[in-house]
Amino acid sequence: MVRPKPAGQSMTATVSISSIEKNFGATKTLKGVSVDIAAGEFLTLVGPSGCGKSTLLRILAGLIPQDGGSIHIDGAPVDHLPPRARDVSMVFQSYALYPHMSVRENIATPLKVRRLSSAARWPVVGRMMPGQAVARAAIAEAVNQVAGQVEIEALLDRRPAQLSGGQRQRVALARAMVRQPRVFLMDEPLSNLDARLRVHMRGELSELHRRLGATFIYVTHDQVEAMTMSSRVALMMDGEIIQVATPSEIYANPVDVRVARFIGSPEINLLDARADQHGHVSIAGRTTAFRSDTVGPFTIGLRPEVLAIDDGSSEIVIDSRLQRIERLGHDVLLHMRHDAGSKKSMTLRVSAAELDALQANGRLNENVAVGARAGSALLFGADGKRLPGLHGAAPPELVAYGLGLRAVGA
């Protein structure tokens, strides 16, 4: 049923997900999700809880059936295959280790099921079946090797209950690795670890991916995990993939305001803006010298780090009041209130040195103007879709005396 892999075959494959749909009763959990994953890629499905990312992963593994669409692995459809025949392995959020088996038996199980006859797998009597010595030796060898890779050789004879969270995590990884699947599926594998261990395991997982060269599909709600490990990030919301892009691209160029809000911490600042019929843009009722391609209300997004206390050189200026200073060590967050949005609060990220300089200059008053460069602004339409950026300090018909105007304005 499952072909033994020829030696040397690289354990990697493309995965193609096309228009997957899934309903649980009346709720549409997945609404036609499509994404293609290249061989050896580390793709992260990220999104808030309940967005359907774990469901998609389970459909990929063959653990739950989809209601529509299909999955191809290495170009071949796998929808009709049971989980065991799809040649994928999975690391679960709860690790899902077999509680009554030792670590060694846990890791060996996927190989035993595949390589030993069902009679030989019976407890006690199975060992007496003839002709399995070679297979058993090979399994033992593979278990030892993979245990070495994740550094759990010393734990092989323990039960899962005797292990710490991080150690269980490694056992789950080893069990997934031991049969050298074409695709690794990981369902929030780090979310049950404490903060320090999580940071450490992020590094280890990236390193593991680099070493194995396998295709990883990784589900998380933690955007930091998504940004730090993946080659590409697929952001899911409400049963749909909104954007698939590299981490830097998805941060710098979100296609939707929901993406902009989900990615980045602290969250992006969203301000109400409006363009008159000529395209002249005003933010919080204060006119700017910029134009947009749309007319009417829209939203302008400014990341905390592109904002600064205005020193007179900013292209966009927002009046606000300082509410609270939050020191994070090297960085400082300034929480401001303003009147230019439904949220009315705004966060700036500045370095501690800048803050000290501001305080020394006496420029950090209760009422301060916050400024940013126009090029750093992300524009989103009323429907949340991304708009082209602000442009042209002056409208075309004013070009002739634009300089003069500016001189007057200054």
Partner: protein
Amino acid sequence: MSRAGSFLSRAGLTPGQLTMHAVLLACAFAMLFPFYWMVLTAFRPSPEVFSATFHWLPQTFAGIDNFREAFAKAPLLRFMTNGMVICAGILAVQLSTAIPCAYALAKYEFRGRNLLFALVLFALCVPVQVPALPLYMGLAFTGTLDSYFSLMLPFFLSVFAIFLFRQVFRSFPDDIIHAARLDGMGELEILWRVVVPSASPAIAAFAVFSITAHWNDLYWPLIVVTSPELAPPPLGMMYFSDSDLGSSFGALMAAATLLTAPLVVLFLCAQRHFVQGVTMTGVK
């Protein structure tokens, strides 16, 4: 005196605690007195039994005689073997039918699941005395009365086991079942090699519960068994006490001691499971 008092209170033996111990010891004495009296009488000669004076210990030791008489009067070992065969047979069938059914109810979606579960809940309330008459007639018509099979038949299905194991299996993480499917195990293998081992405390608790119930059952054996060589311990005990008991209380108590001993030993060894079993009936 005060030093002794401080020592006692350091050991947690405050006056309140000591009072409770005194009361509980008195209760324990009352509860255990029948056992004491049973064993005591088993070692007493007949005249002592019938004397009107009360003694804490046998004045003359007649243990061997009483037990020899008990063995001579009735096949006590045979009764106990019957008890073991019946309990083992019932338990084996109960486990091998109830476990898959409970797993299906707990983890699969199928048409009729709710109906089946409702029937299990109904059956949970029905004591064996209710279907006893038709079962007896069925056995009589098929000529299978007075056999081990007839002794075991009404108990092959344990809806209590189905109910209990369903509760236990429901709390078994789906992720582990998923992991096993990905690892390549079939459904039957997942059940017996992954799910059942982790339910072993519940299975042990049910096992002692089942063994106790059927070792001690009198009603059904009384109905279907007519040959003394098939009698389980309670029925054997009844035969024994019916035969000319007046003369030999000592032998009767010796027989009672022997027939009670296996379960008392089982209880003392698997005491934790007994308590768990009771608590689980409370949970149901």
